[in-house]
Assembly symmetry: C2
Homo-oligomer: 190 residues x 2
């Protein structure tokens, strides 16, 4: 069984020949480190499932500073979903942090599967629900955790990622400067 099929099975049980209907629509693609899958202003024509590597999704604020919104790694989907679903211009940049291999699905295939393969719409409903919960938890943390607590939570919940991603990017993700993160870390190990 492919990693993608295993992933679907981990979310909800689907017969293998039905999974094949989905996999037929996926297209393999590679991106080198630092290459972009998407830039703000473009139209998101696909979303992507990572088979190896990792990416960051980020924006620029009004002062031109970058803010990392999400990291994604193996067996996660990524993409600018609002742009993809509504077919409006993207607000996110998405960049490979490592050489990254993905399975991409085009909007036309997505719409086809949503109509014709009920298992796919069940699967995406579960994905969206999980994402909604994850986002809700992150909002709660942003409102009620200190910088140090957000950093500890990140370490505890994404131990793999914290090895693979530079502190600069982690700092941006939890909403602090790299200098302050460096200070938090030295304070911890003293």
């Amino acid at each position: 069984m492919t990693p993608f099929a295993q992933h679907i099975q981990s979310i909800l049980p689907v017969a293998e020949e039905r999974i094949a209907l989905i996999e037929n629509r996926l297209i393999e693609k590679q991106c080198a480190r630092k290459e972009h899958f998407l830039r703000a202003g473009e139209l998101a024509k696909s979303v992507y499932f990572i088979t190896s590597g990792c990416v960051r999704t980020y924006i620029y604020d009004l002062n031109g500073a970058e803010h990392n919104i999400t990291f994604s790694m193996e067996n996660w989907w990524f993409g600018d979903l609002q742009s993809f679903i509504k077919q409006t211009p993207a607000s996110f940049y998405i960049q490979a942090l490592e050489p990254t291999s993905v399975l991409s699905i085009h909007k036309k295939s997505w719409d086809y599967l949503m109509l014709e393969v009920p298992e796919f719409s069940d699967y995406t409903r579960a994905l969206f629900r999980n994402t909604m919960f994850a986002h809700e938890n992150r909002i709660v943390q942003n409102l009620s955790f200190t910088a140090e607590e957000r950093y500890q939570f990140f370490l505890a919940h994404y131990p793999n990622l914290s090895q693979r991603i530079s502190q600069k990017h982690i700092a941006s993700y939890i909403g602090i400067t790299p200098e302050f993160l460096s200070m938090l870390r030295s304070r911890r190990t003293e």
Copy 2:
């Protein structure tokens, strides 16, 4: 047509007799100002659609300070969805800010409708997707906006709410103290 039926129609087209199947499962309920629909630790047995009034969803942090996570008003659903869907203990408190009338749906009715009424599962998929997008936008704002920008965004996007809700609660929602919000406001009108 009832306000609830109108609401569904505004999300996706559904035949009126199918909407009736959903409405049959809804139960009217009232809460006085300051009463709670739910408390952290309880099991969320229902979620609620507001026909009049408004509520706040909030948590306590480790220091015992409250943080408002969401406000909800007419034609919005509210509830601790993670508790409701997963049937785990709630992490949120939900309190009426005004005398509030709701239509509640019990978990058993929800599960029934999800299985037996495809229009309902389509409708909830759309709701979840919209909520996911709204949460994503809020995360972006929390990372990239200043307190003043978050306040201006709140005023622009929820003009009704900002009339009905105390500044203390708005301050908590945007993640600042009431004193600092008061200062921002006086600075603006100078």
